[in-house]
Symmetry: C2
Subunit: 394 residues, 2 copies
């Protein structure tokens, strides 16, 4: 069985995924675009405000008419929001105006209704105003052609408000990469059913699908396969047709019933050992141009394989920030087998990071409690409390 280092296998996987996961774009309605990543720069198609309008309910006048206050002016028209309004204000007159309504040519300020009284068709104005007061000029927020948002922006509610305000009904966003998931193993039964002797609940497809979604992808749950090759082949065919990348769990190690290895090796798949714990047995195949990443079946091995080999490229293609890695102080001793890169489950504490459990690849409850992976290099077998360790954010 061939053997590779983590970096070597990760590099080969990355190269395959980077070819398969070319960022594509799709157009979605603006109301559905919350959290999506913009695929192209967006420029304003119009000025905002699109016309000069009133900031208040009141009277549009020429400030020159207010040299001496109080002053009484005839009201020649009323303009509500949504009205075209009169073309022009005659000198020495006023137009009653609502918030958001267009300010007629000839008026240069708005007197708020609170500073006025009316008597029939005449308004009495108590306070003088400067030109421009309570008037919003065309283009004072945005001028047509301005860059509103750059490609790569993760869209918030405020971004969507702005896109709608300039009249955009749709927006180009990055397509979510599609990952199909197949769990394998004769011992697996679906959660919610009852266990027979030797059986366990199938959790890897839920775990991988949720991990894909949490990192900007769409997950296709193809189902779980028994150890019968034809069953696996059938699911594989559906998975390859449906997705950019296929993830499998189980069936890759040294046993007699390794359905994934058995089916994929003749298709040119590489199956071997990666010098890591957990997650040692790994497979990698290209089927009809679609990369098939084959992870071991222990729940912890599967999830850590996803973190180490798939998450980074998925996030890159989805336009998300890289997986954060960091260094932290170990608060307890840690041990690691020689020649293997060890990913221990850890948790942040006040003064650094602590271990959440032992190295066992079946400890799913401990993984659920962890918030970091501690990355112990191949050539390190013992670390002391106080040592500096590399951590991956989960």
């Amino acid at each position: 069985m061939t053997s590779r280092s983590v970096d070597e296998h990760a590099g080969i996987v990355r190269q395959l995924l980077s070819r398969a996961l070319t960022p594509g774009s799709e157009t979605v309605p603006v109301p559905d675009a919350l959290g999506r990543v913009l695929a192209e720069d967006v420029r304003a198609p119009i000025d905002l405000p699109v016309f000069r309008n009133s900031q208040m309910d009141g009277y549009a006048v020429d400030a020159a008419s207010l040299h001496e206050v109080p002053v009484s002016l005839p009201v020649t028209a009323t303009v509500a929001a949504g009205d075209a309004g009169p073309d022009r204000l005659a000198p020495g007159t006023a137009v009653k105006i609502m918030t958001g309504a267009p300010v007629p040519v000839g008026a240069d300020c708005v007197v708020p209704v609170e500073d006025t009284d009316t008597d029939g068709g005449v308004v009495r104005i108590h306070a003088a105003r400067r030109p421009g007061e309570f008037v919003r000029d065309r283009g004072s927020d945005v001028t047509a052609g301005t860059l509103l948002l750059a490609a790569g922006a993760a869209l918030t509610a405020r971004h969507l408000a702005m896109l709608a305000a300039v009249g955009l009904a749709e927006v180009p966003v990055l397509r979510r990469p599609r990952f199909a998931v197949i769990a394998t193993g004769a011992e697996l039964v679906p959660p919610g059913s009852s266990l027979g002797p030797g059986q366990i609940f199938e959790s890897n497809s839920v775990a991988l699908a949720a991990s894909v979604r949490a990192n900007g992808g769409d997950a296709v749950l193809v189902g779980h396969s028994t150890d019968v090759p034809d069953h696996f082949r059938e699911l594989l065919e559906r998975a390859v047709a449906a997705a950019d990348v296929v993830l499998t769990s189980g069936g890759v190690s040294m046993g007699d019933f390794e359905v994934v290895r058995e089916v994929l090796t003749p298709l040119g798949g590489w199956f071997g050992h990666v010098a890591m714990q957990p997650g040692g047995p790994q497979g990698l195949t290209t089927v009809d141009g679609v990369p098939v990443l084959s992870f071991p079946g222990n729940p912890v091995s599967t999830l850590i394989s996803f973190e180490v080999f798939a998450r980074g490229e998925l996030r890159r293609c989805a336009g998300l920030a890289p997986v954060p890695t960091d260094r932290a102080t170990l608060t307890v001793p840690a041990h690691s087998p020689p020649g293997k890169r060890q990913f221990l489950r850890g948790r942040r504490v006040t003064d650094g990071v602590t271990l959440e459990s032992g190295p066992g690849s079946h400890l799913v409850a401990a993984l659920a409690r962890a918030d970091v992976l501690l990355d112990i290099p191949e050539d390190v077998t013992t670390m002391q409390a106080g040592d500096d360790v590399r951590v991956w954010e989960l």
Copy 2:
């Protein structure tokens, strides 16, 4: 027109919302529960592992048989993952075993296949093993009855993996509060259409719906209303029937065509002025037991009203952390009208926060660029660069 301080109005709104938004729970399939908030504590219904099983592909033996190695033992059976396996291992024999398969009574360790050779029905073992090696004991990860996750946990992929592993197909999560949204204004046309004179694009319903979703709620877009009271009444009726809370925008101020105020005042609504900028004109009504929060129609006023009056209670009911507020150093001077609490749009910079725009309530592009609101108290009119200011995270 009556007037209230921000704190006074916020207190009244909070009281109404806290009665309307009682956290409820619903049961969802585990695969759909990513990001949902757990409504109840979850305890393990079973031990995990549910039976003693092999960590490796190899041979299950009694460690006592390996006193002297190499040693040859007859292989009496093969047990694969998913098999019940033999009841008991006879002394001085071995059972071939796959990863995850049950270890028979009488065996206390597993010898990895790498440390063996076979010849017919006999295995030759090269290396001694201690009792317990490569055997995962029943309950070594989780024992039945253990608290797996406490109510209030926001569910991650790793949590879902654990819930599936203990056999849970469904999980109780907090119901998402439902907010219906109605935008009003005769001047509004949907994005994607063309503007007539005096018309603007309707952006408030998108903005409010996305804000609701971003804070753990479900949004129901009821549509946008003209200034015709019967039209608004019809949308209001649908909104009240569909949601826990209704948000309206526009139609609340001092103009002649204020459809929201006109329809809701006779139903017992309060409409008045809150001493804040932007967002001064506000309304609050209870219709058939459903709170109707009426925000002003300027896009910035609407979104800031949501932040100030609705976001906190929505997040509380959705089980999310409170809106983060903080203090920061102002890097530029700021001005605020006397007697009004001012929410200026700001942005974090290296040495504090800066202003993103002037106070105009129509500046949606500036709001889109902002990442904080600067909260300037009623009694402050001028702040200097270097002053300490309260900020709300957007």
